[in-house]
């Protein structure tokens, strides 16, 4: 589970990164030529981080399935997320409600900036941010309550 030390920080800061992406979007749409390179330099790693988080979550799920044959669970990537994710206000079926609201806000923002007529740099920026947000939401998903143990005393 070494991936946690790499992926927990970007997952936890996802809402702030999303707000940063929203602030950057009008600038990219207004000056696409000037911002193309910085947007790519930031956007591609952002999307890759999101993909890595989604992949890590998938690996965890597969490992968990492999190791839960009567045994305890592996630590859940979302389990130690002691921040707002653990509160009811932000929990949307186990996902971080804020990330979905921010993604909707990003889409709406692109719409306000011209939608399909907006510079494609802005659209690409939205895609990168969306991949990142979906990955982070998936990674930090709070697991549903586990079923009871397989035996009377599963650890013994």
């Amino acid at each position: 589970m070494r991936f946690r030390s790499f992926l927990d920080p970007p997952a936890r800061t996802a809402p702030w990164v999303a707000i940063g992406a929203m602030l950057a979007m009008p600038v990219i749409a207004r000056w696409p030529e000037m911002t193309r390179l910085p947007a790519l330099v930031l956007g591609v790693p952002l999307a890759m981080t999101g993909a890595a988080m989604a992949l890590a979550r998938m690996i965890w799920t597969i490992n968990k399935t492999a190791l839960t044959d009567g045994g305890p669970m592996l630590p859940d990537p979302g389990e130690l997320n002691s921040g707002p994710m653990r509160t009811r206000w932000f929990n949307l079926y186990g996902y971080d409600r804020r990330l979905f609201l921010l993604m909707l806000a990003l889409i709406a923002e692109l719409g306000l900036l011209g939608g399909g007529d907006a510079p494609h740099e802005a659209g690409l920026w939205l895609w990168c941010a969306a991949v990142y947000l979906i990955g982070a939401a998936n990674y930090t998903r709070t697991p549903p309550p586990e079923p009871a143990g397989t035996g009377e005393n599963p650890n013994a």
Binding site: R2, R4, G70, P72, P75, E79, L80, N155, A156
Partner: protein, 253 residues
């Protein structure tokens, strides 16, 4: 004199707070439920300064981050499980010593339930916190280790002084007793122990801590080197095979 505050948490775990009144230091032994630990420490008026993890399972280390965030305590865990335990400040290995006030706890390798499972033995207080390696009348399920490894681990616990108080992490004794009686039906010590367990559980009282002396006489897993047990389980002269047979039988009991 160290004080131990024992309280139930989750479905069948025991939480332990170990407090040294001289230094004021308090250690959580594992962290199954952060809220319960913080609440109990608050009731006692103790400031949590350390967490001692026995192994990585979430019902033992799942509350590390929350308790550390709330108290700023130091988290100590097995170096062999470094990549599976969260929020750890100090990794320890067998032979290391951890300190609570003036009391020293020796770290013992008790792998078998998990590969890097450790126990904390406090010779000065005649107590040992063994996590899921040893239970009253039982031992932990062998999730990661081998029978050789697990038997070696139990042998290390067997080498501790008989008067040592054993604090295990779950209240499993009643069901363990049913298997123990099945495994060793002619053991009079076990029969009286099982009767006492039934009486305690009927009153809703804990059966933990136990003592090593009591377990030596009645715990079938600690008696895998006993010739009578070896003969009964078909492996004369082979403690590891006897332990493996007992463990396998318990898994499906």
């Amino acid at each position: 004199m160290l004080e131990v505050h024992q309280f139930p948490c989750l479905s069948d775990n025991y939480g332990y707070l170990l407090h040294d009144p001289v230094s004021g230091d308090t250690a959580c032994i594992d962290t199954p439920d952060a809220e319960a630990y913080l609440r109990e420490a608050g009731h006692k008026g103790w400031q949590i300064t350390q967490i001692w993890n026995t192994h990585w399972h979430p019902d033992h280390a799942g509350g590390n981050a929350a308790i550390k965030a709330a108290t700023g305590c130091t988290v100590i865990a097995s170096a062999a499980e470094a990549d599976r335990t969260a929020a750890v400040d100090r990794f320890v290995s067998p032979g290391d010593v951890v300190q609570l006030g003036d009391f020293e706890a020796q770290v013992i390798d008790v792998g078998g339930h998990t590969l890097g499972h450790i126990a904390y033995h406090l010779p000065g207080a005649s107590m040992a916190f063994v996590g899921d390696s040893l239970f009253a009348l039982g031992c932990g399920r062998m999730f990661e280790g081998t029978p050789e490894q697990f038997w070696t681990s139990l042998s290390r616990l067997k080498a501790l002084p008989a008067e040592t108080l054993v604090y295990c992490a779950h209240e499993y004794t009643a069901s363990n007793a049913r298997f123990a009686v099945h495994a060793d039906p002619d053991n009079a010590d076990l029969a009286s122990y099982a009767a006492r367990v039934a009486a305690l559980r009927a009153e809703g009282k804990p059966t933990v801590p136990t003592t090593l002396a009591r377990e030596f006489k009645a715990n079938p897993f600690l008696r895998a080197d006993d010739p009578a047990m070896q003969a009964r389980w078909g492996h004369p002269g082979d403690a590891v095979a006897t332990f493996a047979a007992l463990r396998g039988a318990k898994d499906t009991f």
